[in-house]
Symmetry: C2
Subunit: 363 residues, 2 copies
């Protein structure tokens, strides 16, 4: 695949839409398939999922896969509704939260209309605007990762706002009160993307009840250790869920993932223990990086954003990679660069810190 190479304007009789032609295509984080690599680059959970999830999958493997799945992932919906204290009609399941972000875009945003989101944040938001033929309005974070008044300023054609909370790559979070204020000021839906919220102290799900323009998306990829499963969901008022459901693929979630996700959500003991480990390892990682001279952004996610006043970040990334440690080098035009490092096991963190010391960081 050479998805980043320049493409002809059309391929024979197949005319590609111009907005698609112009796109470079998303480059996923490196996923080495061979060799022994310490993988701290895509914010996966370093621990395998709950045994109950594995059992649910193994049992479901013999349970009539020749039949279509439940079109609304009903067992999961019921479990998620119970978890959040809402009715099942407030929940919509998706093939990863990316699927839900796609559905939201297609429901609210037409060609040449506008999506707003903070920058730097999740690169998919821009991709979704581009695929839709829509415009995007990137509001720059201040250096302290707060947002200025332009975040809620009215603008023509604005149809949807995405707010990752906690944000990636920063790991920072806005308070529920702040988000409620913003939701009251704006006249379009505000999607709070809570992919990393389990690692923090607060969720905006309860805002959904009071604010009819707040929609919260969640994923099982990070905190439940199920990135390979592709399962996410959103919480929104039922009238919105009804509209969004028109845009999803009829059977967007499969039988195995519905069973696995339901088992995962019902094993909150596993989640609590996992979160405790991640939070404790996050502290270890942040302290270690600080001791190596990095400026480390306090994080409420399962990764940390760090910059080093004396080191060249891309070189560091490459040196770590050469030693079998993958972190994410991020270079944001008009913003700056740095390293985003996922919280691994304590062994992985020790290995990372040892390599940094060996490389002469601090230098």
């Amino acid at each position: 695949m050479t998805e980043n190479s320049p493409q002809p304007a059309s391929s024979g009789n197949c005319q590609i839409r111009e907005n698609i032609q112009r796109m470079r295509g998303y480059a996923p984080g490196e996923q080495p398939r061979v060799g022994k690599v310490i993988k701290l680059n895509t914010n996966e959970n370093p621990f395998p999922p709950s045994d109950k999830v594995v059992q649910a999958i193994q049992q479901t493997a013999t349970a009539a896969l020749q039949r279509y799945p439940d079109a609304f992932a009903t067992p999961f919906r019921i479990a998620a509704a119970q978890h959040w204290g809402v009715e099942p009609e407030w929940i919509l399941a998706g093939n990863g939260s990316d699927d839900l972000l796609t559905i939201l875009t297609r429901t609210f945003v037409g060609e040449n209309e506008k999506i707003r989101y903070p920058y730097p944040s999740y690169v998919l938001y821009r991709t979704l605007a581009e695929i839709q033929g829509a415009e995007y309005d990137e509001v720059l974070f201040r250096k302290d990762w707060t947002l200025g008044p332009e975040w809620t300023a009215p603008t023509d054609g604005l149809r949807l706002m995405f707010l990752p909370n906690p944000n990636s790559p920063s790991g920072t979070r806005f308070s529920k009160e702040q988000i409620r204020d913003w939701a009251d000021q704006i006249t379009c839906p505000l999607v709070v993307d809570e992919a990393y919220a389990d690692f923090s102290q607060e969720s905006c799900v309860e805002l959904v009840r009071d604010c009819n323009n707040v929609i919260v998306t969640r994923t099982l990829s990070k905190s439940y250790g199920l990135a390979g499963l592709r399962f996410g969901y959103l919480v929104a008022q039922p009238e919105l869920v009804t509209q969004l459901a028109k845009v999803k693929d009829s059977y967007n979630c499969d039988t195995l993932s519905i069973a696995a996700a339901t088992a995962a959500l019902m094993d909150q003991d596993w989640l609590s223990q996992n979160l405790q480990s991640i939070q404790s390892n996050r502290k270890l990682l942040s302290q270690g990086l600080t001791e190596c001279g990095f400026e480390v952004q306090p994080s409420e996610a399962n990764f940390v954003w760090c910059t080093h006043p004396k080191q060249h970040h891309q070189t560091l990334y490459q040196q770590l990679k050469d030693q079998g440690i993958l972190v994410r080098y991020m270079d944001y035009p008009n913003w700056g660069d740095g390293l985003r490092i996922s919280v691994g096991t304590s062994d992985q963190i020790q290995a990372l810190l040892a390599v940094l010391q060996h490389l002469g960081v601090p230098s």
Copy 2:
């Protein structure tokens, strides 16, 4: 969920796109979750999938689900390429072939542009046009399920054509030569939707090599007995695959389904035996229905389309349902109605025919 009830023009501060508001939403075939029902309404395979698929799933359940899946389903891609005698770059995997039909629509068709497809056929094609804010041009099948010259007639804004082959609900198929002729005449991509092609005698995959505007979609839902898994793929020239890949979700297929689909495709012995059973049962079903006075369309799929000159189809559907046998009643505006009956096991077919006789059909 009341997804078919009328909706307000906007929900608070959330303005739904007009094309979405107008939609009724897809109503999937009934999927009873309780009780003992003979289910012949959604063209599922009546047999469970290969044991090798089950094993692949059970093994993969313990194989690092905390990691993201392979973004291009590489093991499956390699297997499918080998199966069809192309390079892996000709294959794109999807979360069911519905995912691929969605990707195709978003790649080729902008707002107010046009999709053409025959009618009656797969209702999703219209849904995809509606979601995209595009127009649709439904070309009516003649009574013998052939298509007139309007099928290839030029029209403004035409960007994509879908041809299900074999078609549902008819089970009929056009020859490869006919489709090659059409592809040469038109100036847009022609997607041959081969969801049911394994049950027939011919595939158009080899056309993809010669015709740069032919794209073939396939699914593992029907012939491989894996509707619950959500896995499909398309075969297209590599330059097109590169463009289509920009539009898919980054990780559209999950780790379990990639492993399962690869195992399924590699077990061609299972497929051959399964197809033999289905084809033999299809004969049984068609003969039995003919003896009951139905006019049965000769089928190359895993279902048959039948009409009865003396019976009220919807009443028959309801009477069968009351006896625990679900078939699909289809009423196509501007066309007519009838019953689409999936090919079940021989026991299921005997049960259906017995109920029909008990109901006094033939009458």
